[in-house]
Amino acid sequence: MNQLPDFWRTEVFHPLSVHLPIALLLMATFFKLVSLWNNGETWNKGGSILLFVGVIGGWISIYTGNLADGIVSRELCDPTVLKDHENASLVTVWLFTSVVLIEMIHGFLQKAWLKLLMVMTMLIGSGFLGYTGHLGATLVYQQAAGVYVPSSDCEEFE
């Protein structure tokens, strides 16, 4: 008889940790984009807080993804998708991390072009973020990465 595996498996921590930073980084991009026209504190500081927390969450996702990689790679039929997912995620997190650094420099220099560079990098980062998410979804819905597939007679649920 098959036994239902524990829910709190190492590979499950990755999907649990990715969605919050995705939302935070996309919202941070939106806030900073609006702040180009409206320099109010809500958009500017709000965007900075979202960005900072999102980047921390992004690095946590990279860590949990690395843990999951060691487990699911042996079961995938096409691990090249996982490699692309990993590469895109690293580009995404490095782009947003660099935005934090640009923002710190902008804090000292107060140059308008630095703010524009920041928003452009965030928009490109959001594109990579969407692509990373798409590849992650492909891994789950086409290759059942990290997913427990129940037996055909659902015996383990009885």
């Binding site: 790679s73 090249t80 590469n87 072009w113 990098t121 490109i124």
Partner: protein, 103 residues
């Protein structure tokens, strides 16, 4: 504005090449190459073949690892070692059947 137009693509290229790692999918067979990277936590190695391809190999319970015909532990593997690997291509996954340390 011109400064930004020049900066963004250059910046993107730097990030892209610094972050990305590529691997190759090859047909089932025996390959000789050098260990490029060892990941003990994942029992995984990257082997760079003489043809310049990078094979990402996750050891399975069936993978045999040997040196001079004797079974050895995964911890014996180090970067720069020459190895002969027999791989089986399953879908686009490469399962290592055997790894022989040549040196």
């Amino acid at each position: 504005m011109k400064r930004i137009i020049k900066l963004v693509p250059a910046f993107l290229l730097v990030v892209f090449f610094a972050a990305c790692e590529t691997t190759d999918v090859v047909e089932s067979g025996i390959y000789t190459g050098t260990i490029d990277e060892v990941e003990p936590a994942k029992t995984e190695i990257y082997v760079k073949t003489a043809e310049g391809e990078t094979l990402e190999l996750y050891f399975t319970e069936e993978t045999s690892l040997s040196r001079a015909g004797e079974e050895v532990d995964f911890s014996m593997l180090e970067e720069g070692m020459t190895v002969e690997v027999e791989v089986e291509k399953v879908g686009k996954r490469l399962d290592p059947i055997s790894v022989e340390i040549m040196e």
